[in-house]
């Protein structure tokens, strides 16, 4: 698997293979898309394709798509899907759109991998960087990950966010700051939480500038301000367009408000819903604040601690979001798992790889079983499914911790060459 540089033909073959596989799943198993769309592991209230259909129907009938409280997604998705031929008669165009988005995401990931940023950033060069997978392998691991495929077949709108985030990173690495910030704005516009990626992304842009920063002491402040202005500007344009489209600012509370206040408590694989189902209403706002504060508190700490490797910060944050965000789904996990192979060079430093793989696989199979026991068989209850979401969260958080450990150890061995191979002991 340690192939050389990916040739164009090989990459094209890979994309074609992924597209054919998805198309085959769409067409050969016509009931599969609807089955997956209904799964809580794939479709959350803020990404569900079914809810998108509902919003689209209302939009087409000149009713505000947010009436009825079903649709919680960004308004600009509506004209995009409206441009496609009707889903009821020609579903193939929707399928092709989703396949294309997946391949665009994979292409961005390939560019990130080919840049070698994971192994040697501007301020840090790992001694192990030679051991890495080619971009094609990493793109293949993303494209053929069952979670990615299930997300694509389930037509969750998270794929657009995933694509935007990956393009933001890829553009930041290749030095196109403005593009990166616009892509990030799109991701934030669609799902809100990617806005938290702004600090590490700015750092990444700063490190990958074409001309290294001049001696001016406050050059970085100016740089960061420009970046922030870019994002604010892009978001302002997007909001203005949304306003023109829907005719009111209602969409803000219906999309971002739902994420902020967790008003839809449909079960998902995250850790929030159960907590807020059980909670007394008087504590609700306090804990909402605590949960959001917790989610955003990682940004600062990681950005500072891993200043030398901003891409690592982004990867770890994506992992943390996939555990702790209000409405996570396996799509978020697939994005994180897609980024992890970039760190092939620190894999030997991972301590729990087998345990993590076993936990994630166990949770993948037990979650549908327990959901079935709870909802359909009636012989289990909500605790069954919540227990499994805890296990799933444990698996992912172990991976986040272990990856952070491996990267830090890698840095540490550069700082203290005499400690190479020594065991770390907790005191």
């Amino acid at each position: 698997m340690n192939g050389g540089k990916a040739t164009l033909g090989r990459t094209a073959g890979l994309y074609a293979g992924a597209a054919v596989l998805r198309l085959a799943l769409f067409t050969l198993f016509p009931r599969l898309p609807d089955l997956l769309t209904g799964r809580v592991e794939i479709s959350t209230p803020v990404t569900s394709f079914k809810r998108l259909q509902e919003g689209l129907f209302l939009y087409n009938h000149n009713v505000s798509p947010y009436d009825g409280g079903v649709y919680h997604q960004a308004p600009l998705l509506l004209p995009i899907f409206n441009l496609l031929p009707s889903f009821a008669t020609f579903p193939i165009f929707t399928y092709l759109l989703y396949i294309a988005i997946d391949i665009l995401s994979a292409d961005a990931l390939l560019r990130i991998a080919e840049s070698g940023e994971a192994g040697s950033s501007a301020r840090f060069t790992s001694p192990r960087r030679d051991k890495r997978w080619s971009g094609a392998v990493i793109a293949a691991l993303f494209l053929f990950n069952p979670f990615t495929i299930a997300t694509c077949i389930g037509r969750s709108t998270t794929v657009f966010t995933t694509c935007a985030i990956l393009h933001a990173i890829a553009n930041a690495i290749s030095g196109r700051h403005f593009h990166a910030m616009v892509a990030l704005s799109f991701a934030s516009y669609l799902s809100m939480y990617p806005l938290l990626l702004l600090p590490p992304l700015v750092l990444l842009c700063y490190d990958r500038q074409k001309q290294p920063a001049t001696g001016a002491p406050n050059a970085w402040i100016k740089f960061a301000a420009t970046m922030v202005m870019d994002v604010v500007g892009a978001l302002a344009v997007l909001f203005q367009m949304s306003f023109c489209l829907t005719g009111s600012w209602e969409f803000l509370s219906s999309t971002y408000g739902v994420q902020l206040t967790l008003s839809d408590l449909a079960p998902n694989i995250g850790l929030w819903w159960y907590f807020f189902v059980e909670m007394f209403d008087s504590f609700r706002s306090f804990f909402l604040a605590v949960f959001w504060l917790h989610l955003s508190s990682y940004v600062g700490g990681l950005s500072v601690r891993l200043r030398q490797q901003p891409l690592v910060v982004i990867t770890l944050l994506l992992g943390i979001f996939s555990i702790f965000k209000p409405y996570p789904s396996i799509a978020d996990a697939s994005l994180f798992l897609g980024m992890v192979p970039l760190y092939r060079h620190v894999f030997p430093l991972l301590r729990y790889s087998f345990v993590i793989a076993a936990i994630i696989i166990y949770a993948t199979f037990l979650a549908p079983a327990f959901y079935h026991l709870w909802i359909y068989a009636g012989s289990g209850n909500a605790n069954f499914f919540y227990a499994i979401t805890l296990v799933w969260g444990l698996g992912l958080s172990l991976l986040v911790c272990d990856l952070a450990f491996a990267v830090l150890r890698d840095e540490w061995e550069v700082e203290r060459p005499e400690m190479v191979g020594k065991e770390i002991r907790q005191i």
Binding site: P348, F354, Y362, F365, H372, L373, Y376, A377, G421, E423
Partner: protein, 617 residues
Amino acid sequence: MPRLLASALSLRRDPRLLKLPPYLSLLCIVVGVVWLFLLPLDDYSRRTYISENALLPGQVHTYFGGSDQNVFRAYKHETDELAGKGNIEVNDKLESIAKGLGLKVGRQNFTYSSAGNTHSGQNIYAILQAPRGDATEAIVLVAAWKNVKGEPNRSGVPLVLTLARYFKRWSLWSKDIIFLFTPDSIAGPQAWVDAYHDAHDSSRVASLPLKSGALQGAIALDYTRETRFQSVHIVYDGVNGQLPNLDLINSVNHVAGGQMGMGVAIQEMWKHSNSYHDRLQTMLRGMLKQGLGLASGPHSSFIPYHVDAVTLQPFGDGWQDEMAIGRVIEGTFRSLNNLLEHLHQSFFFYFLMQKERFVSIGTYLPSAMLVAANFTIMAIALWVKSGQPEVQKVITEKTETAEEAEKLALPNPHAAMERDLFLPLVLVAACQFAGVVPLYLFNHLSESALIPAFVLFTVLSAILPFLLSNLLHTSATSTTTQQYHLIRSFSLLLLGMFLSSLATLNFSLAFLVGVFSAPLTFVRPCPNSPILKWLSMAVLYILSPTTVVFVASVLPDLDEKVGCGLGEVLRQAAFAWDVTGTYTPVVVWCVWWPAWIVGVVSVLGRPGAGDGKVKNA
């Protein structure tokens, strides 16, 4: 504390620790199996009790009887006339009777095809609207025209008609009562329940013309005999091993055994002395039925929809007459009528040992979980083992390169072999996906082709490991010990994972598959000892899925007759898959069979020298 941690960490590298897992696995299996055999003892099983206070079984006086006897005779006369007539004619007659009683009547056509056969028919049902209810809840009384063995339900159908007439006169019902007559005992009820919940495939099963509220419970009557009987047999196994709420069985037991004074039997144990032996036999029969996951009566199709249901079968020669079973149904319906909410208090996972003794899931689940855990333990052990370099050997071989030697000479506890994951992953994944082939084959072939296909498949699956093993050796690089460890590790990990997931859905199936595949934990490549190799091969082939299916089909069944034969077993499996959605074939072909193939491949393995790079961590 730090010292304790440190000593625990140093223990981690103790070479003796790696010798432990096979014994630990064996211990898990032994404890798991012994655990099961302890369950019938008084200390581990409990007496049944009614959890749902609203049920109040046996507390009401039942009035069915007297002149209803004459009504029953009249209806019996009418239905006897219909013997041998077609489904439609029968339904015409039933419809005229039900309409005469003032009930709303609906009909539903269904057609299923399975193994090249077509199973079609027409259900008819009548709804008694509750005088005190609002049509939001309903209970169902089912009488199939033929029972699961194909015998005509001679007394059951007229008795249900009599009960319909009787129930209609009462004003106390707070739930609608649906009387359902189906032409057969499995396809008909399945079609009706599917359509009732709008979960049917409308190309095969027609929608229902009228409906009532949410189903709260169902009782099916399988009453073929025309003479007096002694006891009543409660059949409660649902599709895929799901069981009705224990409260329902307890209620029927209370009414029949306590109030009516008739005997109650379960699991075809016509005589039960409440001894250890009888309890164990009852439990094992229950496990076998649950493991097969087949529908055992008209009630089975209701259970997947969370509608608690049982079938009542009168049996034995005694002095109880039709009115007695009628009163049992009346009493049970009065209890169900009392329900304020869906049955949920009592257990859904249990084994009955005797009509009044059971074990609940908390007591028996560890048994299957231990069996499943043994695979996971071994998988982890093999993973660890695959990462351990054979240090001595490597040092002596590679002292030429000074740098390497220096590195290796250092006491480096973190040294771990670079694992070559690609080949093991591909092999295990390929075997796992290959399981789709037999699954598709046995569920889509026509009946006549089933036996030849099974024979052909048995031969192929016996040869396949040899082919795979040869392929592993003719490939450019010989497969190393490490890769064999990894192959087994992944396969066992998957098996352990599937079985522990399955144990929560269908305990018995997980336990049975776990026990049959227990040898897979212990078999290993043994290139130096042909005796051990062929011994392992013999054990594996005796316990292969194909052999077990074949032997199970020729063994005598519970009624001490000859086995039903391979063709019948395959036909039934296909029917269960197509009609009731039994997933046992998936488990056999996509969980057990791939693990077995990988097991045989690893026995046949001739690992080459494991010579991987040593990496520093």
